[in-house]
């Protein structure tokens, strides 16, 4: 073309329509900005990995698997059932409608806010300009006042086990299965691997989990993971620690472990060994942004990488979690709009939808000690909760970590049913600097699992109702 590159002048450009990008766009629009959002999958891809192939579909699958499992578990409690049948084909149809509906909802929120959505892949070619390649292979240019990078992350492949969408699956392909495999090897016992492995075990697959480290959920405090491992094994899963996946051989996965090499039956293999930020194809150097060896963009407290460009979510440091991205997004939109804003959350909750669930927020006892605090800890066991009994859940606990010097809750760690819901109360206590006495004096409803938090606080205060002493962490 001889006419050169005509650039469309835009005010605030958001790259990515996931929980970071769409939240940034909406907040910026609320602040009066003219927002353009570029999403490589177009309007149908709004919501990003979280909504399309992550949080939401995996919870849908887990919900299905739990319903099937509970039906079996409740037989001796009086539930009559002549066997449960599961159709993943039906499931996929339902899940497709669910996710499409949610994506449409996000699209409505954006268009109501006046946000323009552009379908294409963006790449910086100057500090104030991006080129967007549209699906019909045209390139359009946008010159922006400000930009927010929210392009997310993607699964990492193993060299010996490249994703092929058939035998070797990433989490996205695993969530798209239309039949339960008879045998499944899960490589990587992080939260994605364990959530998928647990769900598929409940749906009837013979599951083997292969983990290179010596424990499951290596990013979580070890004392929280024992109930998860026990349950996984009770569901019939084989957990191979200190083992690495080598290669596929016919119907088997070859692994090397402490007892030498072994062959694991694996009609399918799910590789979930981590995620890598989508920053390599963005032309960030052209925008004056250096990306570290880890692919992460360095940002300040106000999420800005440069005067003009901010970055949020999986492309910056911290846990790759949707709610972190969303919180950072508001900060970025405000900072770029001249508001004094900073990402200064005291605690980012982590939730893992294993069985039992794990909800963890704030400091562990060790972290609190390392931070120079004076930690005191109490665990309230699930076994002492009547409500947990009705749910047939006995293995788990609610733990409070408090700083004795400042008399405040600094960590809440819950293992048990609905821990993902319950941990929000802990986050609130931490942000509001509640004293354990405040939590203990707050009436929690009976009979609920939420009482665990109050009971743990009472334990810390030395006046428990349903147990008589605090347990040292890790003690039985």
């Amino acid at each position: 073309m001889v006419v050169g590159e005509f650039a469309d002048a835009v005010d605030l450009l958001v790259l990515g329509g996931g929980p970071g990008g769409y939240a940034a766009a909406i907040r910026a629009a609320q602040l009066g900005r003219e927002v353009t959002l570029v999403e490589r999958a177009g309007p149908a891809g709004l919501g990003g990995v979280c909504l399309q192939v992550g949080c939401i579909p995996s919870k849908a699958l887990i919900e299905l698997a739990d319903a099937a499992q509970r039906t079996r578990d409740m037989r001796d409690a009086g539930l009559g059932s002549d066997g449960v049948s599961v159709s993943l084909e039906r499931f996929q149809a339902w899940r497709g409608e669910l996710c499409a509906g949610l994506a449409r909802g996000v699209g409505r929120l954006l268009s109501d806010g006046g946000v323009r959505i552009v379908h294409g892949e963006a790449r910086f070619n100057r500090a104030d300009r991006v080129a967007v390649r549209t699906p019909d292979d045209r390139v359009v240019f946008f010159e922006f006042e400000h930009a927010i990078v929210a392009t997310g992350s993607r699964p990492v492949a193993l060299p010996g086990l490249p994703f092929d969408g058939e035998r070797v699956l990433d989490s996205t392909a695993a969530l798209a299965l239309t039949a339960v495999p008879s045998s499944l090897a899960v490589v990587g016992a992080g939260y994605i691997g364990l959530e998928l492995g647990t769900a598929l075990a409940k749906l009837g697959a013979r599951v083997t989990v292969v983990e290179a480290l010596d424990r499951v959920l290596p990013t979580v405090d070890a004392s929280l993971t024992a109930p998860v491992l026990r349950r996984l094994r009770a569901l019939g899963a084989d957990v191979r620690l200190r083992s690495t996946a080598q290669a596929l051989d016919d119907g088997a996965l070859l692994i090397a472990g402490p007892e030498g090499e072994d062959r694991i039956a694996a009609e399918r293999v799910v590789v979930a060994v981590g995620r890598t930020p989508n920053t390599d194809a963005l032309g960030l150097a052209e925008a004056g942004i250096d990306v570290g060896a880890d692919g992460l963009i360095a940002v300040g407290e106000d999420m800005r990488a440069t005067e003009r460009i901010a970055a949020v979510g999986d492309v910056v440091a911290g846990p790759a979690l949707a709610h972190k991205a969303t919180a950072e997004a508001a900060v970025a939109a405000e900072a770029l709009s001249g508001r004094p804003a900073a990402f200064d959350a005291r605690a980012i909750p982590v939730v893992i939808f294993t069985d039992p669930e794990i909800g963890s927020v704030g400091l562990t006892e060790g972290q609190a000690g390392d931070a120079g605090l004076d930690p005191v800890v109490a665990d309230f066991p699930l076994a002492a909760s009547g409500r947990a009994g009705t749910l047939r859940a006995r293995d788990g606990f609610t733990r409070i970590v408090a700083d004795a010097a400042t008399d405040r809750v600094v960590g809440v760690h819950i293992v048990g049913p609905h821990a993902s819901e319950l941990v929000a109360g802990g986050a609130l206590a931490i942000e509001l600097m509640a004293a354990p006495g405040d939590v203990a004096a707050t009436i929690h409803p009976h009979p609920t699992l939420s009482e665990g938090l109050r009971e743990a606080a009472e334990l810390l205060l030395g006046r428990p109702l349903h147990v008589a002493r605090a347990r040292a962490p890790g003690a039985a």
Binding site: R339, G369, G372, E431, G462, H466, V467
Partner: protein, 419 residues
């Protein structure tokens, strides 16, 4: 000594039986009250039951795995005395925590780390601090264990922005910020606009002189304390709270102004006239949420000290709530500005025309001063009294300040003519 049969207590919620999990003591052990005796398990919970008394265990009834009914004998204790040993350990979490703390304390001693961490402030308080440009690390929290509350941040913002002008608390838009966006434009609106225009005019129009005067506040402090105590004795807490130094200064200013009529005056250069007011409407510089306002105590010369104090408190409250009525702002003849409450020890007030005096009061601080040739420590405040040189000269202004200082150093004279 008496044999005490200790029975399995009712552990509540209709529990009728419990299983022995583990004995924490053995027959023949000497035990103390509250010491852990046995761990039992019910349908509801695992419970550690403490010893009911000091003594010696003579019999344990049952072995782990046995199920007992509530009310059956659990243990027999040869009890000694009956008194509870004070300080007997409880069986709560604190004990375990204290035990676990020991090595941690040792580690802390080995590597003394500062009480790490982030300022103790809730999210909205942190946001407010950012908006006001306050570094939370520098704020002493007034809440439990140093928790920083909104009011601490607002105070810090006011103190940090304590200006040398009569604007005691610069409002948010003018306050320095942690990281303002480049080229950010904040429109001048409302109170801020009024302040900006009025003070520009004042600065350009008034040839200002300032008399700085150090005042020994020993007697003033004592007088104020006595007045407060008297108010408290009468149960008048509102008055006790209202008795800040400001009403005393207002009264001193009014009494002195009666003897120096040119300080309570106004000038009109166009008509080439000075008006001696003869009534004493004292403007009180007051920080409000939107900026400086100067509500007025009218006819302060005809009010008792208590009335002045209560009215100033009332005006400050109303100003904070943005409820000042026009008549409460009308017709000041002289202004008093106690920026000492912000921590400022010396200010440079700006005269607000057509008034001709703005009397600034600094913070009362202990200072080393010379008394009879010796260095002694005295509570001291500094008056900075700005005057309009068109009306007042150094000597006329100084004479007024002399009298104000004398009244504050001998506050009994403030009550020379009670009304």
């Amino acid at each position: 000594m008496a044999a005490l049969e200790f029975r399995l207590p009712d552990v509540g919620e209709g529990i009728a039986t419990a299983e022995i999990v583990a004995w924490q003591v053995a027959e023949g052990d000497r035990v103390r009250e509250h010491q852990d005796l046995v761990e039992i398990q019910t349908d509801k919970a695992t419970v550690v039951i403490p010893c009911p008394a000091n003594g010696v265990i003579t019999r344990l009834c049952g072995t782990p795995g046995d199920t007992l009914d509530v009310g059956t004998v659990l243990a027999v204790i040869e009890a000694e005395g009956g008194a509870v040993a004070p300080g007997a350990p409880g069986n709560g979490a604190r004990d375990g925590a204290a035990g676990a703390d020991a090595p941690r304390d040792a580690r802390a001693a080995a590597a003394p780390a500062p009480r790490a961490g982030l300022p103790l402030a809730a999210p909205t308080t942190r946001r407010l601090a950012r908006e006001l440009g306050v570094a939370l690390e520098d704020v002493a929290g007034s809440g439990p264990h140093g928790r920083i509350v909104r009011e601490d941040v607002e105070r810090a913002a006011a103190a940090g922005a304590a200006p040398v002008s009569p604007a005691p608390a610069a409002p948010a838009p003018a306050a320095p910020r942690a990281a303002p966006a480049a080229g950010e434009v904040v429109p001048l609106r409302g109170v801020r606009r009024t302040i900006a225009h009025a003070l520009t005019r004042a600065w350009l129009e008034v040839p200002r002189i300032i008399d700085y005067r150090e005042v020994d506040a020993t007697a003033l402090q004592r007088a104020r304390a006595s007045l407060r105590q008297r108010a408290l004795d009468r149960g008048d807490e509102a008055l006790a709270r209202a008795l800040t130094p400001t009403p005393l200064v207002v009264r001193a200013a009014v009494l002195a102004a009666r003897d120096h009529p040119y300080v309570n005056a106004s000038i009109d250069l166009e008509r080439e006239e000075i008006t001696l007011h003869g009534h004493y409407h004292v403007g009180i510089a007051t920080s409000g949420p939107d900026g400086l306002t100067v509500p007025v105590v009218h006819d302060a010369d005809r009010r008792s000290l208590a009335e002045i104090a209560l009215e100033i408190a009332e005006l400050a409250q109303v100003a904070r709530e943005r409820r000042l009525r026009p008549e409460q702002l009308a017709g000041p003849t002289i202004t008093v500005n106690n920026f000492g409450s912000l921590g400022t020890w010396l200010g440079t007030p700006i005269v607000r025309p057509p008034e001709v005096v703005n009397l600034g009061v600094g913070a009362i601080r202990d200072r080393v001063v010379a008394v009879d040739g010796a260095a002694v420590v005295r509570p001291t405040l500094v008056l900075s009294v700005a005057g309009d040189h068109r009306v007042l000269d150094g000597d006329t202004l100084g004479a007024f300040v002399n009298q104000v200082a004398a009244l504050l150093e001998s506050p009994v004279l403030l009550f020379e003519d009670l009304r």
